[in-house]
């Protein structure tokens, strides 16, 4: 068994409100979220000696440290590839505290990706970045393929073709998420469940994706406090132990456009899954529920297959008949997911995983001993197994 398993725990979670116009800077959002997360677990800024975030975050670790009034920092790091970084920030923190490189590490992500730099738009910045990612994008953006929805839709069309799935199968994810969000006062879509007919009637964005297959651009920030298992035992909240923390990149990997493999799809999530099961000594059957990254519905189906919850092409049957809803056999995204709560690049999903371990979710699932959380799909990604 891995030396990392259960050596660290998420003990504090914090967030700002989730909105379409926060009215304050991205840096301020992140600082607020960090302070909320520290207050949640009874620690102070003086206890923190490490910060980690996404390469994409516009607020550097030193800028957050300055605003927090931190005096010294012993550990700081960033993870690349957009939302694929989410669970990897916890991996960074867990490795740091498990090895004694740091004692208290806070993972954060904050942005105004609705009111400022909109993530759903065609990104000229992505097409012109001076690095190999920019060079990679030369083979798609000039051809008109340059929004997140379009890059996912390309995979979705093929998935429908290969497995005889339908748009209604994608819709099952949206219906579950929105049911959960409807019960979550912090969600965009609090009090607004949808039916599969609503999903089918929503306008086409990029065929085969409807509007209700897509998450919402969001303003907000989330922070997570990670300490060693020993230290966690002394803190007030029930620790969410990191039973496994994994990253994954597949063969011939690109960012959102891994189209040149014989078999497209998201094998990078298979890499994550195999490592999660290896590290934790657990398997899909041990997971009571999941928080699967859902910026777009098709990738939730493909993740279930890559992680081993069902075989290739079997996810449409797996998600049918309410199985992934809160009272189903394998609930997913009980906060409402990124489709229903907010799109905070997967960090809000990790916070929900912690709440389920604590028993404090607005949609509590019984007897959650272990659950799986994943980060962004279509990109080099990451995942966690959290345990009580």
């Amino acid at each position: 068994m891995s030396t990392l398993s259960r050596k660290a725990a998420i003990v504090g979670i914090g967030a700002t409100e989730f909105s379409k116009a926060s009215g304050r800077s991205e840096l301020q959002l992140s600082v607020e979220a960090v302070r909320h997360a520290l207050a949640d677990c009874g620690l102070t800024v003086a206890d923190v000696d490490g910060l980690t975030t996404f390469t994409m975050d516009t607020s550097s670790e030193i800028a957050v440290a300055r605003e927090l009034g931190m005096k010294e920092m012993r550990f700081f790091s960033r993870i690349n590839y957009g939302g694929g970084a989410a669970c990897a920030t916890v991996q960074q923190a867990a490795m740091a505290v498990a090895t004694g490189v740091a004692d208290v590490v806070v993972c954060y992500r904050g942005f105004n990706e609705r009111s400022e730099s909109r993530f759903g738009q065609f990104s000229l910045a992505a097409a012109t970045q001076v690095n190999t990612n920019g060079l990679d994008n030369a083979w798609s953006y000039p051809m008109g393929l340059g929004t997140p929805a379009a890059t996912v839709a390309m995979q979705a069309t093929r998935y429908l073709h290969e497995y005889g799935a339908t748009s209604r199968d994608f819709g099952a994810v949206a219906v579950a998420d929105r049911r959960h969000a409807a019960n979550n006062p912090h969600a965009f879509f609090y009090g607004k469940p949808i039916t599969i007919e609503d999903h089918q009637a929503s306008r086409m964005i990029v065929d085969p994706l409807h509007l209700l297959d897509c998450c919402q651009e969001s303003d907000g920030a989330v922070a997570l406090v990670v300490v060693s298992a020993e230290r966690a035992a002394d803190l007030p909240q029930t620790p969410a132990y990191v039973a496994a923390a994994a990253q994954g990149s597949g063969a011939d990997q690109y960012v959102m456009t891994s189209y040149y493999r014989d078999d497209i799809g998201i094998p990078e999530m298979g890499v994550v899954g195999r490592e999660l099961w290896r590290q934790s000594g657990l398997g899909p059957a041990d997971m009571r529920m999941g928080i699967l990254y859902d910026h777009f519905t098709p990738y939730v189906l493909m993740q279930l297959e890559e992680l081993g919850f069902c075989g290739r092409g079997e996810a449409p049957g797996f998600v049918a008949d309410g199985r992934i809803e809160v009272d189903g056999a394998f609930p997913l995204n009980t906060h409402g997911g990124q489709l229903g709560e907010a799109y905070i690049h997967g960090m809000n999903g990790i916070a929900e995983g912690v709440r389920q371990i604590r028993g404090s979710s607005v949609n509590p699932v019984d007897d959650v001993e272990h659950l799986v959380v994943t980060a962004g799909t279509g990109v080099p990604t990451s995942g966690l197994v959290l345990s009580r």
């Binding site: 738009q121 030369a138 008109g144 990029v206 040149y260």
Partner: protein, 142 residues
């Protein structure tokens, strides 16, 4: 406004090719392996010695999308974008022009054409490989 590709010394040959009316695929001079997108090292034999072959410009739709929202710079929506499996065995993202959204399907045959944007950039575009499109296809970029 056209979205311009980032180009470096590993990919310059491709864009020189489109300007000359050729769809060029990187080919390893040591082992003959073809690849797309291009890169400096052969994925089969590790050689850095590479050339190219000119593709026939024909292929088959592997997947596709119809992009309706949000706006795409320089494009009038909706647009059809496909993944095309070239007959030479590599796959490319392909803007398919002069096609109605309901006309595109997996398995359809496509034929390349070239859209000369300006002196510096010529983009490959693709059309349904039908008698109608073949008849109107320009022989090469003028």
């Amino acid at each position: 406004m056209t979205v311009r590709p980032m180009i470096n010394r590993d990919s310059q040959f491709f864009w020189d090719g489109t300007a000359a009316g050729e769809l060029r695929i990187q080919k390893c001079n040591a082992c003959g392996a073809k690849r797309f997108p291009p890169g400096p090292a052969c994925q089969e034999c590790d050689a850095y010695d590479r050339g190219f072959e000119v593709a026939a410009g024909t292929g088959t739709v592997f997947s596709y999308v119809v992009h309706r929202h949000p706006p795409v710079p320089g494009k009038e929506l909706p647009i059809v974008i496909a993944l095309v499996d070239l007959d030479e065995g590599v796959r490319m993202v392909a803007e398919v022009v002069d096609v109605a959204p309901e006309e595109i399907a997996i398995g359809q045959r496509l034929q390349v054409d070239f859209n000369r944007v300006d002196d510096e950039l010529t983009l490959p575009v693709w059309r349904l490989d039908t008698p109608r499109s073949s008849a109107t296809r320009r022989p090469e970029a003028e």
